[in-house]
Every structure is written in structure tokens, then in C-alpha cells.
Symmetry: C2
Subunit: 487 residues, 2 copies
């Protein structure tokens, strides 16, 4: 049902006038997120100032039958924050307080709107470490990270967001407040609900507090950069480093297209004619770091690197990392529409994946740059195109469908980091199979019977069985009465 | 409904005669697990020889309305494998093949009956490492570990079983075969179903293949042992080690009661009159290990240790670890019934927890030894009693209820490692609250509508709403007809 004036009045009552927005400029600016080609206006935006207000908004949505789309920074890359029909955006970014940093238990308790980089800096000041570092770290929010189970450059050694969520205060799709997990480092009491919730892309709950695990800060780090004539040699070096039982803190690669774009953008002296660049980092105890950096250098040389060098100082290491982090923005300068994907394969399949992705791009005549997390097989094939060129968009979509098929064929997945959202719904069934889809639909339906939270993200709502099944005794009796009235 | 002869014939048809057991001695020996005080005979035991047979057994249970209790080694400590009314035990321990060790991708694919220690040894032979080491490592199965999300001595540094499960082939409670996760190191495609399944204690699925993450084997390790006059000083040392940003591979403590029992049992020269013993280990790069071991030694001395020594060689380190692992068995010699619990608190609350547990034991006049994983706050208060002494058992149960309350009050949990099973059901709602219980019941009901798999473990089946709600269109129409027939 439409979000009526009566509903808007009730929303204003819950969040007060200053927490309510429905002017055209508000609706337009909250109609999209970081995903190209997707846009849909909400009916209103509400800014809750407490957990209780979030719960009240969700209960109202259940009663009045409108939808809710949670939003942090709106920087997601799979459409998770793009509004759906008949929806109200619940904006969490203003709730951005770091509530507690507990050095004795190595935890941080935060509100969902805290920017990831802000937390990382705050704990670093206390000699602690929050490792997950998505490319958008300076703007994305921790609530969004938990919803999408965000990754980053450090995934191979340090894991991703779900490895750091110890507990959640969450408003469920029916408007109850649930606290799950906690500071106890080990906890097997009941189903691991907060693990279900992490990566649920706004469909199973709205996070109002997040308890995160911290690590001690690594004492030292050392960057190493290597140039290769071709991707195959870079991939050989990657395999060699893993085989040597080294787990680098970072192992990123960029292909020639990406290198050229980054150099045009950042002008840091990258050579424009090499086939691939590997950016590595070791962190930890100084003795270990020195040894690993030397080993990685040697392995790259053995794999045929044209040039290998250790970063002269931390500042140079940071410059290289910033160049890598700017890859997306640099590629975005080429054409109006940049589609960043993240098909991921087991690391051993990386060389084959890269070669086949290049072949697909060539065959469809599209411009593609590939960069990514070599250490964990998480590639970002990035297509540069123009959404107004419908013919090219068609070729781009065909190419991506092939790329997902290849990833699945090689034992990988359709998304390593960005989530399914709207963008990858069509490909999920091929990956998880019909039983997997049905289990996810069952889970969603039982937790959100009225399909209030972000419906249509990840999966379609469960298809109704023949006829309509009642959810309550009252409905069952109404149905019985209607049957009695049938001709 | 009872398991009829017709059902037994059908089971024999599925698993063949050699896979079917229902002699009295089979039923008796499969009526209990490692949990004291619980016993219930199944109707039969079946030994499936393939995933398809497991699926057929589960489908039969859905059709014929009997229950299934999965079993590995039957070494669990919360009643997870204890049969329920009208149940058939599905024995997975004979399915014990290591299917693959992939050194390039650092994964191992195993059948559920592989003994944990067997896998650990197999990968160690290839210079790889599977860290989770429950106390029962030489007998427990990986399928059981996944069902219970087992921990061990290495939890603080290396995590627990759920940190190592990358994928599962699982037979769902309705008898479908689902594959979830995979070798791609990062995967955010859809709800994290395999995370829901890990720790589900046999209630949401039967694991037929498990894909586990491996690590490179640590190059070196060094044990350190410290004696203290009292637990408070030991706890101070623990806090000091964490504050020094050291993450030891192991940090175990034993109280005086436990030390005395272990010494009587193992005779390794432990002093009988100290208040507490700390067993530590650092592992990793040799330079780091030497440094951390020296630091831990210094911190223990500063905390007032009576004696501190580094293990002279790996063999001595192993002897100390074996002594710690034998704590349960050693305590079990004192009285006929040994109740091992695992109330867990945030590490900073450890000293208070230990002191209050001692006070509870004193006040109730029961014999208690406490040992555990000091680094992650996971205590094992172990009560030695005699189940035939009903008066004492009553005092023991009262004491444990108080201990769980204290753990929850201190921000902890009722179970760090052993699971809820049957033993801790009464305490779960206090920990997770009614919304948490309802969410778990909802999840269970949607995945297992006929309550086939291990019903009554973790949570009670969802209470029926007023009247009975139909599950199918046919049931709805039957209900409508019966309503029409009402007076």
C-alpha cells in the first residue's frame, strides 16, 4: 500500500519533524547507491535517533504494509540500498558514535553509522587494529559493512567483516529488539543468529549496535612492488608465495589497463607498458616482516619479474596502497558508466580466470580492466561503458553472465565482497541450486513474514503455494469462511 | 509414531542389512553420549554408506514420522547425541575418509566421521595445520565438531571450528542435499547458510562432506609453565600478557583441586600445594616465539609467580599439554559422576568469575575443580559427585544454575564450547531472551517442519498457536471443512 499521509504523520511522530524528509531533493538523492544503472525513489527518508525509534518504525511498517530500506553511506555496489516500491529509507549514518573501546577484552562497540576508517584510526591511536579495509573505507559505514560482509585488501591474512563481528543489537523485521553474541570470546549458546545476520544485506534486521573484535596492532610492515611482462608470470609469483607458506597482509594485482588508468589519474610513476603489477605487504614482528619481504622479492624474481623493489619507507608503501585503492576511481574516468564486479575463484584458478575474462571482453568488444586481491582469488573485472549506449550495455551484460558462469565452473562464486543485492540475483540460483534458494526463502519468510525489510534483495520473495496459506488463526478462520461462501 | 516393523524393513532396504542394528546391546550402547545423567534408548541404529542413503533415511523419517539423532563418536558433553523418543540413530563415524588435501588452496575435504586428531596429523605431515583441538581430539569426529562448533586449547589465537568451515554438503531436515560455501576464500553470495548450520547440534542438517580451511604449519613453538600461590595472581599474569599485545597459542590454567587430581593421575611432578598453574605456549616464527616466551616468563614473575620455566624441549611441552588434556579424566577418578561445564565470560571478568564459582561450590558443599582456557575466559568448572546421591545432585544442579547466572551477569555465556543440547536448555532463554528463543524456534520450524532432526535439542519445538495452523493447502481445506462441521 502507498505510504499515506497518515503513515507519514505517524513517522513524524516517531522521529520528530527533524528526523523526517520527503522533499523531492531528498528523494532523488536517496534513490541510488554506488551501483550503476539502478535508481528508484523512496516515499520518504526517516532518521531515527534511538534503537526504540527504529523498532517503532519497523512495527509501523508491518502494520501499515510499507517497505523499509536501511541505508548507511549508500556506497554499496550491488543495489542493497536502492529503494524498492512503496518504501521508506531508514538512514543510519547519523548514528555514528564509537560507544566503547575495551582494551582489556579487545572489543569496540559502535553505532552503525560510524565510518570504517574512523574506527580504524581511533583504535590505531590505542595501538589496536581493526583490519577489514574495503576500498570505500573513508566513507562507508560499519553498519553497511556488516550488512554486506565487506572485505578489503587484507582478507587473505586477516579475514573479512564476519570474522570480526562478536555481537549485535538488532531490530528484527517484526520490530523486536534482539541482542545476539557478546564479549565472551567463545559462545555456542544456540543458533548463531548474528552470523546469519552478517551479510544479510538489510533483509533480516537493522543493526543498531555492533560489537567488533580488535587485534593488537602489528609492530611493523613492509611493502614490496613487482612489475611483470604478463599476468601469467604475476600469477606464478602469487602461487609461489602461497606455496612458501607466506601469508602476506596484502597481495594485490593490477592489469595493464588498470595500471595505465591509475597512472593517468595519480601520476606516481607506474610504467605504462608492463603486463601486470603486484603490490604486496608483510606485517607483524619486524624480524618476520624483513624475512617475508625478502622471500617475496626472491619469488617474484624467480617468476620473471621485470623489476622488484621494497618500499623505501612506510610513506612509499602508503602511496602504493592509495594507488591501488584509487583503481576504481581511475577506471571511472574512462567512460561515463563503470561496472565493478567481483567474481571470485579459488586462488589456484586465478590465472585461468584472468585469461578467460580477458577473452570474454575481447570477444564482446568491451573495455575491461582487471585488478584485485590476488591472494584470495577475488577479482574485480571492471567494465567501462556508457549506460546510454543500450547496444553496448547489452554486450556488457552478456559478457558478465559468461564471466559468472566461468567463476562457478572454476569452483568459485559470483560475489566475493559486494553482495548479491539486486545486481546478482539472476545468478544466485546457478551457484547455490534450487534447494539453497528455497532455504534462503524459508529463512527470509519466517523472519520477515510481511516482507518488510528490503524485499527483493538477494532473493525473490518465496513463491506462494497454490492458494494462500494463512499465517494466523484469524486468517485461517477468515479463509475457512470464504471457502464456505464459495459457489 | 513408533518405528514399526514396516519402517525397519524400509530402513534395511536403504542401508542393507549390514547397515542396520537393533539388538539390545546396540540400543544400550547408543543410548548415551559423554554427558553424565542422560540416557535414552533409540529404536534402531542405521549406518548409511552414502549421502544418498542419508537423504533417503531423512525422507523416510518425514513420511513415517519418526525422529533422527545423528551421531559421530558420541563424545559430546551436552546430550546432543542422546536419542529422543521414537528415534533412530544415524551413525556417521564409519564415514571417515579424508577425501582431499589441497595444498594450493589450503583446504581439506573430509567425510564427517574422520577423527579430528587423524586430520590434524595428516595435514601436519604436509607441513599444514588444522588448529581446533578439543580435549577429545583423539576420538571425536569432525562432523561432531561442526555440529557443536567445538573449541579447544588454541581458541584465543586460532579460533574455533566455525572459523575453519569453508563449505558443507548437508542433508537438510526434509531430505534434500544442499552444498553451501566452497573453496573460494571470500564468498558473500546469499545468506551464510553454512554458518547457520555450524553449531546447530544436529537439528538443522546432517553433514555428509565438510570442507575445512588449513593454515601453514607454525615453524616453531615454545611452552612456558608458571606456578602461583593463588588464582588471583595467575589471573593478573593473564591480564598482563594480553595487555602486552601477546596472543599466545595456548594459555591454560588449573586450580589446586585440578592440579592435585592431575598429579595423582599422571605423576609428572606437579606441586600439590600451589594455588594455580598456568600453561602457556607461543608458536610461529622462531624469533617471535623466543621473544614472546621470554616476555610471558617476565610477566608471570612480575605477577608474583612462585616458579616459571620454559619447557626444555618440545617433548616436555607436549607432556605439559597432555597433563592439561587429562584434567577431565583425572577429575573423573574422584567420584563416580563428573559434570564438566563451560560457562564462559569476557576475559577481563575471569578473576571475579573464578572467585565466585569457588564461593558457590563452598556454600553448597560440593567438590569442584576449575580449569580452562584463561586466554578467552572459557572456564570448565567441574563438579565431582555421585548421580545416585540425589540430595547431592540437587545441590549440584542448584550450584550450576547460580554459576550460569553469574556468567550471564558478568556479560558472558552459558556455554563456550560444549553446546546447549539437552543440558543447558533451561538456561538459554535467560541468555538470549524471548525474542532470541522465538527466532531460533522459527528458524528450526521452517527448516524442519515435521521436527525430524534431533527435536528438543537446544530449544523446545515452537509452541503451537491457539488451534493448529495448516502447513499445506490440503490441510487448510481439511481444517475449513472441519470448521464447517462444527456445531
Amino acid at each position: 500500500m502507498p505510504v499515506t499521509d497518515a503513515v507519514k504523520s505517524e513517522l513524524r511522530r516517531i522521529v520528530s519533524d527533524r528526523g523526517f524528509r520527503d522533499e523531492p531533493e531528498d528523494l532523488i538523492t536517496h534513490a541510488y547507491d554506488g551501483t550503476p544503472l539502478l535508481e528508484h525513489r523512496p516515499e520518504a527518508i526517516v532518521i531515527p535517533q534511538s534503537t526504540e525509534q527504529v523498532a517503532a518504525i519497523v512495527r509501523l511498517a508491518n502494520d501499515a504494509d510499507f517497505k523499509i530500506v536501511p541505508r548507511g553511506a549508500g556506497s554499496g555496489l550491488s543495489g542493497g540500498s536502492v529503494p524498492v516500491d512503496n518504501s521508506v529509507v531508514v538512514l543510519l549514518s547519523p548514528r555514528r558514535e564509537i560507544l566503547e573501546i575495551d582494551e582489556a577484552n579487545l572489543t569496540a562497540l559502535v553505532e552503525p553509522g560510524v565510518v570504517t576508517g574512523t574506527l580504524a584510526d581511533a583504535v590505531a591511536a590505542r595501538d589496536l587494529f581493526y583490519p577489514p579495509d574495503p576500498g570505500s573505507i573513508s566513507i562507508c559505514t560499519l553498519g553497511g559493512n556488516v550488512a554486506e560482509d565487506s572485505g578489503g585488501l587484507r582478507g587473505l591474512k586477516y579475514g573479512v567483516t564476519h570474522n570480526y563481528v562478536m555481537g549485535l543489537e538488532v531490530v528484527t523485521p517484526t520490530g523486536e529488539v534482539l541482542t545476539t553474541g557478546g564479549k565472551a570470546f567463545k559462545n555456542v549458546a544456540g543458533y548463531r543468529l548474528h552470523d546469519v545476520l552478517v551479510g544479510s544485506e538489510g533483509t533480516l534486521g537493522i543493526f543498531t549496535k555492533i560489537l567488533l573484535r580488535l587485534l593488537p596492532r602489528p609492530q611493523a610492515s613492509q611493502g614490496v612492488v613487482a612489475h611483470f611482462a604478463c599476468l601469467e608470470e604475476a600469477a606464478t609469483a602469487v602461487a609461489g608465495i602461497i606455496a612458501a607458506k607466506i601469508t602476506p597482509a596484502m597481495m594485490e594485482f593490477l592489469d595493464q589497463t588498470t595500471i595505465r588508468c591509475v597512472e593517468d589519474f595519480a601520476k606516481i610513476g607506474l610504467p605504462r607498458d608492463i603486463g601486470a603489477l603486484l603490490l604486496m605487504e608483510s606485517d607483524g614482528h619486524p624480524a618476520v616482516v624483513a624475512e617475508e619481504a625478502a622471500q617475496m622479492e626472491a619469488i617474484c624474481r624467480r617468476a620473471g619479474a621485470l623489476h622488484v623493489a621494497q618500499a623505501a619507507d612506510p610513506a612509499e608503501g602508503e602511496r602504493m596502497k592509495t594507488a591501488r585503492r584509487s583503481a576504481f576511481a581511475a577506471l571511472a574516468r574512462l567512460k561515463p558508466t563503470t561496472i565493478l564486479e567481483d567474481a571470485t575463484v579459488p586462488r589456484s584458478a586465478l590465472p585461468e580466470m584472468v585469461a578467460r575474462v580477458e577473452e570474454v571482453a575481447r570477444r564482446h568488444g568491451i573495455l575491461l580492466g582487471t585488478f584485485g586481491h590476488a591472494g584470495d582469488g577475488n577479482l574485480h573485472p571492471t567494465l567501462c561503458t556508457d549506460e546510454r549506449d543500450h547496444e553496448e550495455i547489452h554486450r556488457v551484460e552478456t559478457a558478465f553472465a559468461e564471466i559468472f558462469d566461468i567463476a562457478i565452473e572454476l569452483g568459485g562464486t559470483i560475489t566475493g565482497e559486494h553482495g548479491v543485492g539486486l545486481s546478482k540475483k539472476p545468478f544466485l540460483e546457478k551457484l547455490v541450486g534450487p534447494p539453497g534458494i528455497r532455504m534462503m526463502q524459508d529463512l527470509k519468510q519466517v523472519m520477515d513474514p510481511r516482507a518488510v525489510l528490503n524485499p527483493g534483495k538477494i532473493i525473490e520473495p518465496r513463491p506462494r503455494r497454490e492458494g494462500r496459506l494463512p499465517n494466523t488463526q484469524a486468517e485461517a478462520e477468515a479463509m475457512a469462511r470464504s471457502m464456505m461462501e464459495r459457489p
